[in-house]
């Protein structure tokens, strides 16, 4: 069998890594979340539940968390709607084009996250590519005309002049939850695609033949055989999209604007400008518990759904 030295050699380095870079930081975070900070910005090491009480008292935290979950949920649904058909096509119908298409889905993962973020900024901005195209197609002109007419109408009939509509440029595109969802969907769809594709590849093809043989149409075969057998992949892919989006802070930073702020942005500002590490730690810990609980549940769900 393996020697003692070999065993120590393969177990100690990863153990060391986990302790030093995972467990110790979490322990520090845990401690900080019960401390507080003085007005003169000194960390006071008195143990209390004050930070957690603050999180419950101020509605902004719950609201931001809810918005984060809404955004993450939207991303998850969109990523599934985009990722599943692609994975299905690649697994069952792509034939010779499969390798190329697979590569095309995966390639964006190699591009820097930041570059992709700035790309969306360029596309969605008021001087961006999308508005440029609308201008070029003279759709903006028509929208501008409509806008002026409507505002003139409102100025005549509305009891207040604050009611004005703005169609041009299309400003709702950037700096909104919509932009965050769009960018996160773009970034995390490959992560949903991969486990779904893997689960589809695992379905023995003779099951599909058996289903057809027994008189089930392609649609019935999809609903009763392919979909149930790919559920573990769907759960894994959805978990990826949801958990990664929920904790994302770059997308809201780049394209979210004030209305697109997510919970991680608050954490970042508590550790930065606001200089309230204890409160930031408390939020982080809550998020950690939420995510770990979620992973625990989805892992069990995946096990329950898989039959191989």
């Amino acid at each position: 069998m393996y020697s003692r030295i070999y065993k120590a050699g393969v177990t100690i380095p990863p153990l060391f890594w986990v302790v030093l870079f995972l467990l110790v930081p979490y322990a520090v975070l845990f401690c900080y979340s019960f401390w507080s900070v003085s007005p003169s910005e000194v960390i006071i090491r008195n143990w209390s539940l004050g930070n957690y009480a603050e999180l419950l008292r101020q509605p902004v935290y719950a609201e931001t968390l809810l918005r984060s979950m809404r955004i993450a949920g939207s991303v998850t649904i969109l990523a599934l709607l985009l990722g599943y058909p692609v994975a299905y096509y690649l697994s069952f119908h792509a034939a010779k084009r499969r390798d190329l298409l697979y590569l095309l889905v995966i390639i964006p993962l190699w591009a820097s996250y930041l570059v992709r973020g700035y790309a969306w900024k360029t596309i969605l901005g008021t001087d961006g590519v999308l508005n440029g195209v609308l201008n070029f197609l003279h759709i903006s002109g028509a929208l501008l005309l409509l806008q002026n007419h409507m505002n003139a109408f409102l100025a005549l009939h509305a009891w207040t002049h604050t009611w004005q509509v703005t169609f041009v440029p299309l400003s709702f595109l950037l700096y909104s939850p919509f932009a965050v969802v769009l960018m996160l969907t773009h970034i995390y769809t490959p992560f949903t695609f991969l486990p779904i594709y893997a689960s589809l590849e695992h379905i023995p093809r003779n099951l599909l033949e058996a289903s057809h043989d027994l008189g089930a149409s392609p649609w019935k075969t999809f609903r009763r055989i392919i979909l149930p057998l790919s559920l573990p992949g769907i759960v894994a892919g959805a978990t990826f999209a949801f958990v990664l989006s929920l904790g994302d802070f770059l997308a809201p930073l780049l394209v979210g604007g004030p209305s697109g702020i997510m919970i991680s942005n608050i954490v970042a500002s508590e550790f930065g400008a606001a200089y309230n590490w204890p409160l930031g730690a408390a939020i982080s810990l809550c998020m950690l518990l939420l995510v770990v609980g979620l992973l625990f549940l989805t892992e069990r769900l995946e096990k329950k759904l898989s039959f191989s």
């Binding site: 023995p204 003779n206 099951l207 033949e209 058996a210 289903s211 057809h212 043989d213 027994l214 008189g215 089930a216 149409s217 392609p218 019935k220 009763r224 055989i225 149930p228 057998l229 039959f307 191989s308």
Partner: protein
């Protein structure tokens, strides 16, 4: 083929037997030609519209469905009335004696049990034609023999036409009403097991079904000559190929010689080269004349060594078409 028949498609791997089955089931399309069943053209229908069901080599049971739901799958897919489904499933499971496993997951069953469920799943739809793709090849020898008996009985009971694919000639002999021997995608011979064994049309059939001695003989004046062997034949003059089964060769003992029953029997002297014990019969390799080797199967000959006189009846030689192998 006739309705209610048990036809076996027999062939080596690569002979096209599974392809033929897949063509009938509809998993593959023919390059040319048509497939008809009765007055219904099959090859233009997708698999799910064909009144044909398949038992797959690897069973292909749905892992996420219980045994009951597996069997009910076809009925539900075809929109059979809900009230009718439980009875029909129970009946099908009863036929294969798997009733008490209705709630089990397929993964919990043994190979033989999965096999039975696969059968029930196909039979419950009452197809006009059941295709079986080497369904017994994954089972061990004893279980296989037992399944042979059950399968045959089941086929008689339900009266459905079976097309059974196998590479195992013993299995084919045991099960079939008729055997279709396939070679390189074309039919070599279609006949009952008895006929295909005793009257093979080609040298390939003779060699594939059971063992045989192929005798390349010269026929002249009603006499065939192959090395040391000379016998009477009604074959046309010229070169000819004959098949002689090892079990048609006997040792001439003093008793048979004394009776002299077979005046026309072809007799020859040969040396016993090898003797393989086989229970009821022994297989001998005998060398006659100038190094010509023959195989003979003798019932309980006891240990043999040295030279003996052998004989065979000319009527047991079968003129076969040279299939041009080897």
């Amino acid at each position: 083929m006739a309705s209610g028949e048990f036809l076996t498609i027999l062939g080596e791997s690569g002979s096209g037997k599974t392809t033929l089955l897949r063509l009938i089931a509809g998993f593959e399309g023919p390059n040319h030609g048509e497939i008809w069943m009765g007055d219904q053209r099959l090859d233009i229908l997708p698999p799910y519209l064909r009144p044909v069901n398949t038992v797959f080599q690897s069973y292909a049971l749905f892992p996420h469905l219980s045994v009951f739901d597996n069997v009910a799958y076809g009925l539900r897919a075809q929109g059979v009335a809900k009230s009718e489904i439980p009875d029909r499933v129970q009946q099908a499971l009863g036929m294969v004696r798997m009733m008490e496993y209705a709630g089990s997951a397929p993964a919990r069953l043994s190979g033989g049990q999965q096999q039975r469920v696969a059968l029930a799943r196909a039979l419950v739809n009452r197809p006009r034609l059941l295709l079986l793709d080497e369904p017994l090849s994954a089972l061990d020898a004893n279980l296989r023999k037992q399944m042979h008996v059950e399968l045959k009985a089941l086929q008689r009971e339900v009266g459905i036409t079976f097309i059974f694919v196998t590479h195992d000639q013993e299995e084919a002999m045991a099960l079939s009403d008729r055997i279709a021997l396939l070679r390189d995608g074309s039919l070599e011979q279609v006949a009952s097991p008895r006929e295909i064994y005793s009257r093979p049309e080609t040298s390939y059939v003779a060699r594939f079904i059971g063992q045989t001695n192929l005798l390349r003989a010269e026929v002249r004046d009603g006499t065939a000559t192959c090395g040391a062997l000379v016998w009477q034949t009604s074959a046309r003059p010229g070169p000819a190929l004959f098949s002689l089964r090892p079990d048609d060769i006997r040792i001439v003992s003093s008793t048979t010689a004394a009776i002299g029953a077979n005046a026309s029997a072809a007799r020859f002297h040969a040396r016993v080269e090898q003797q393989t014990f086989g229970g009821a019969t022994d297989l001998l390799t005998i060398i006659c004349g100038n190094g010509q080797a023959l195989r003979a199967r003798l019932p309980n000959p006891g240990p043999l060594s040295g030279s003996y006189e052998f004989e065979f009846h000319p009527a047991d030689t079968v003129l076969v078409r040279d299939a041009g192998e080897e």
